[in-house]
């Protein structure tokens, strides 16, 4: 089927080409899959990176595309986490993938309801509202300790095999592959969405909400939709964390988690989907590295790195990081040319 404009085909072909897969993306995912074979004794941290990446992807959808700042994204992570924990603990939904969807759905519902508060204000109000909601939920989870286990968290969760076939093993291999597949599938979905008219309208809203409504974009409805979607993503990330660690705790709602998430996204960059993934890898590796050399002061070093990023500028860092890959691709392009 050709959708090319009769007179000016590039009107259709340019955006369609923009949505094509490029080789660095393919390489990125091949590397991610390669980790399964390359680092058989590092599955635990790899798993953490995978769900943190999904969590950061969720924040990128609202921050990088729609321009909604949030300091309380952990609210959805926590709800997803507890929901997955409770479903498994009480044997309500035993199959993990189904439980994942239910937990994501619960977070999504919360996202939908709270989105009406979030769209009311602008940046500072949004920071406060999102922060408030996360704190509120944390206290509620603390208060209803008969359900949530209070400060001890949910314990004794036993996970059933995924799809009834793949049991979680003690090395975490199944867990990591499971997280990676979920991340990939949800990444594909996000990638499709941001290249759609809906995704473009989000970028328009971030660029200029006044103009967006002046060309007929229902700004509030779009923001509600993407906030609800992002809540689903965050809920699934939380559920993955619970399912792979067999633990859900109040930490899920903690302010640190929301704040760290912003760090992750700042390190990786917003608005191109890979920022959250690259940021998650960089953040976890730094955390690992710094906590080995200075167990007490690793946060100091992460802070220092953040300051350096701000000082040098991410654009420049990206240019440096892409120097070698660019040279290789330039070589290929030259040798392929007739």
């Amino acid at each position: 089927m050709s959708a090319d404009s009769t007179t000016h085909p590039e009107v259709g072909t340019v955006p369609m080409a923009g949505a094509q897969w490029r080789w660095p993306e393919v390489a990125f995912w091949l590397c991610a899959a390669g980790c399964i074979l390359l680092f058989p004794n590092r599955y635990l941290i790899l798993t953490e990176i995978a769900w943190l990446a999904l969590f950061a992807l969720s924040l990128d959808l609202i921050l990088g595309y729609a321009g909604i700042v949030s300091l309380g994204h952990a609210a959805f992570f926590g709800v997803g986490g507890y929901c997955a924990g409770l479903l498994a603990l009480h044997g309500i939904v035993k199959e993990p993938v189904l439980a994942l969807l239910v937990a994501g759905g619960a977070a999504m519902l919360l996202g939908f309801v709270t989105s009406f508060l979030v769209i009311r204000g602008v940046d500072l109000t949004r920071l406060m509202v999102t922060l408030g909601i996360a704190l509120l939920l944390r206290e509620l989870a603390n208060k209803f300790s008969n359900i949530t286990g209070g400060s001890d968290g949910l314990q004794g969760i036993e996970m059933q095999p995924i799809l009834g076939m793949f049991a979680f093993d003690i090395f975490g291999k199944t867990g990591f592959i499971y997280c990676l597949i979920v991340l990939f599938v949800m990444f594909l979905l996000a990638r499709r969405i941001v290249n759609s008219p809906f995704g473009l309208s989000l970028r328009a809203i971030r660029n200029n909400p006044l103009r967006a409504s002046a060309i007929g974009i229902p700004v509030n409805r779009r923001l509600i939709a993407v906030y609800t979607l992002a809540a689903f993503y965050a809920g699934v990330a939380g559920a993955l964390s619970t399912q792979t660690t067999a633990l859900a705790s109040l930490d899920g709602f903690a302010f640190d988690r929301s704040a760290d998430l912003l760090l992750v996204l700042i390190i990786g960059g917003t608005g191109y989907l890979y920022g959250g993934l690259i940021g998650a890898v960089a953040f976890k590796l730094m955390q690992e590295f710094f906590s080995t050399i200075t167990p007490q002061f690793w946060q100091f070093w992460i802070g220092a790195v953040l300051v350096i990023i701000v000082l040098i500028g991410r654009e420049r860092l990206h240019r440096w990081a892409m120097l070698v890959p660019r040279m290789i691709s330039a070589k290929f392009a030259r040798s392929a040319a007739p």
Partner: protein, 250 residues
């Protein structure tokens, strides 16, 4: 004579400041109507009331027989009331193709599609191409709007408003700030707007007003001072007093 856009007894105050006073305005279908007035007369407030950015304290706004006073901004656009901005309100990071594409998608009801890729609908693509060609933007359609020359950005302002296929178009000082060399393109674009589109022009530039408008309303201190054909308005002693008092020539 059918009325395309009408306000009845429109009032707007900010605190104790009455910026729109009992404004009743009738814009005939197909008209080239100009709304003029000295600085601070409340012209921009009128635009904001008409488009729904501001809510009036009282009074009604009627678009082609339908009361739109309580409709939000985007619904008025979908009903055929569109505007340009005096100061460019574009998307710095988006390209003209994307900017116009959004307006077209939204009007055709595809703006919320989240599974379809941008550029995959022929009807949308055709309209984008036609619109960009009309406003001489095809050659820059894949460049970031922020990097375009000011005159091109001004044209894009009008192009994106036209892409919503308005029945009534509000032009807020379309030539404001455009350098002399690029002015001709803007004026040509304004002059060649389709005749079936009703235009309400808010303008400072008297040459533009008198060359373009077939009817003029003069707004002073938020209230209608005079309304009539251009030659009547030009002869009106009250208007002369207002403009001569301000030092401008009519």
């Amino acid at each position: 004579m059918t009325i395309a856009l009408e306000t009845t007894n429109l009032q707007k105050s900010f605190g104790g400041l009455r910026v729109t006073r009992d404004l009743s305005l009738k814009v005939a279908a197909g008209a080239r109507h100009a709304l003029i007035g000295p600085n601070g007369a409340g012209k921009t407030t009128v635009i904001n009331l008409l488009t729904g950015v501001l809510k009036p304290n009282s009074g009604r706004i009627i678009l082609e027989g339908t009361d739109i006073t309580d409709l939000p901004v985007h619904k008025r656009v979908l009903r055929g009331l569109s505007r340009t901005f005096q100061i460019n309100q574009l998307y710095p990071d988006l390209t003209p193709r994307e900017t116009v594409g959004l307006a077209v998608s939204e009007r055709l009801g595809h703006g919320g599609d989240w599974w379809r890729l941008m550029g995959s609908r022929r009807d949308v693509n055709d309209e984008i191409a036609e619109n960009l060609a009309r406003f001489h933007l095809l050659d820059v359609m894949n460049e970031r709007t922020a990097t375009l020359p000011y005159g091109k950005q001004r044209l894009l302002e009008i192009a994106v408003a036209i892409a919503t296929k308005p029945r009534v178009l509000l032009l807020d000082e379309p030539a404001a700030g455009v350098p002399e060399s690029e002015r001709h393109d803007i004026l040509a674009a304004v002059a060649s707007l389709p005749r079936d589109v009703t235009v309400l022009l808010i303008e400072h530039d008297m040459d533009l007003v008198f060359s373009f408008a077939d009817r003029i309303s003069v707004l002073v201190n938020g209230a209608m001072l005079v309304e009539g054909a251009p030659d009547e308005v030009a002869r009106d002693p009250q208007v002369k007093a207002v403009y001569l008092g301000e030092g401008a020539d009519v």
